[in-house]
């Protein structure tokens, strides 16, 4: 796999649960998660996101997030890592699920992005 996935949510349990859901259909895809604040409260953490990027075995990562404020920390982390990060404004669970299934199937990035297109929403 040359593509990995990072999941960012305000709630630690959501990222853990979503990781389980994705692992079912994408057991070989490197998935790393960043849920909650540094104190495990509800919120997001740039540090945790950066850690999730660096823990991911790949150097090109598809990133998904739940609510708008997570995106800001994601983009801050994106500016601070040397890895290639793609952030998608799509339905969080459904988008991450779609991407994971397609990465597992060996589909290339442009085709994945095409399939994510209809899942775009205002976030």
């Amino acid at each position: 796999m040359n593509l990995g996935i990072t999941l960012v949510s305000h709630v630690p349990e959501i990222t853990k649960g979503l990781n389980q859901l994705l692992k079912q259909v994408a057991k070989d895809v490197p998935i790393t998660i960043a849920g909650g604040t540094n104190d495990q409260d509800i919120g997001t953490s740039m540090d945790k996101i950066l850690q999730a990027f660096s823990d991911n075995q790949t150097s090109e990562i598809l990133a998904f997030y739940d609510l708008g404020s997570a995106k800001m920390n994601l983009e801050l982390a994106q500016e601070m890592t040397s890895k290639k990060i793609h952030v998608y404004d799509v339905s969080f669970i459904e988008g991450a699920y779609t991407a994971a299934a397609l990465v597992e199937a060996g589909v290339d990035l442009s085709e994945i992005e095409q399939q994510l297109e209809p899942l775009k929403i205002k976030k």
């Binding site: 259909v25 699920y97 299934a101 397609l102 199937a105 589909v107």
Partner: protein
């Protein structure tokens, strides 16, 4: 002779055996284009059904209802509500007829309504749509069942988990179609129903 409580139970036990024997294969099919659990789901469901039917139901309607509720409660995946709805519709229909063709037709209508799939979407609906008319025409054969299942291979999934793969779902048999194939095979093998 037609459908009786006895041969209905025999049909289900035969179906359960086929599922048991092929559960790894069904899950492997599901691994290719889904989440890899279809065989385990159906095996959990059908062994519960066999267990349930070990106490002989009072009537065909009663039997169908028990099968339906057991599948709904134990399967866990999409196939649970789908097969469950199929048997629930057969239970309803069985108050007015015991003709297996009519019962299966009601089941198919239920599956389509429940899942919203149409023929060509690469789901169990494809197999049912091809085979229910064969049952009604008394022309069902093992070869036709195999063919109907094989037809799903070249389809692109539009419903269910496989649909997330888009074009990539091509080239694999749909797991729910394969398990439905076993249901029809078991029916074919059960003397007296068709």
């Amino acid at each position: 002779m037609g459908l009786t409580v006895n041969n209905l139970v025999e049909w289900m036990n035969n179906f359960a055996t086929k599922i048991e024997q092929n559960k790894q294969y069904l899950s492997d099919l599901d691994t290719a284009i889904g989440d890899g659990d279809h065989g385990f789901n159906m095996s959990r469901g059908m062994s519960a059904v066999s267990q349930k039917l070990s106490t002989m139901p009072d009537s065909i309607t009663d039997a169908f209802k028990q099968i339906a509720m057991t599948l709904i409660s134990t399967v866990g995946g999409a196939s649970g509500p789908l097969y469950g709805t199929a048997f629930l519709e057969m239970a309803k229909k069985s108050s007015s007829t015991s003709d297996i063709g009519e019962l299966l037709e009601a089941a198919l209508t239920g599956i389509k309504k429940r899942g919203g799939a149409v023929p060509g979407d690469k789901t169990m609906v494809d197999v049912w749509t091809e085979l229910v008319p064969e049952v009604k025409d008394h022309s069902l054969t093992a070869a036709k069942i195999d063919e109907a299942v094989a037809h799903t291979k070249e389809m692109v999934a539009k419903k269910g988990r496989a649909s997330y793969l888009g074009e990539r779902s091509k080239g694999h048999i749909d797991p729910g179609s394969q398990s439905s194939g076993y249901l029809f095979k078991a029916l074919l093998e059960t003397e007296g129903i068709l």
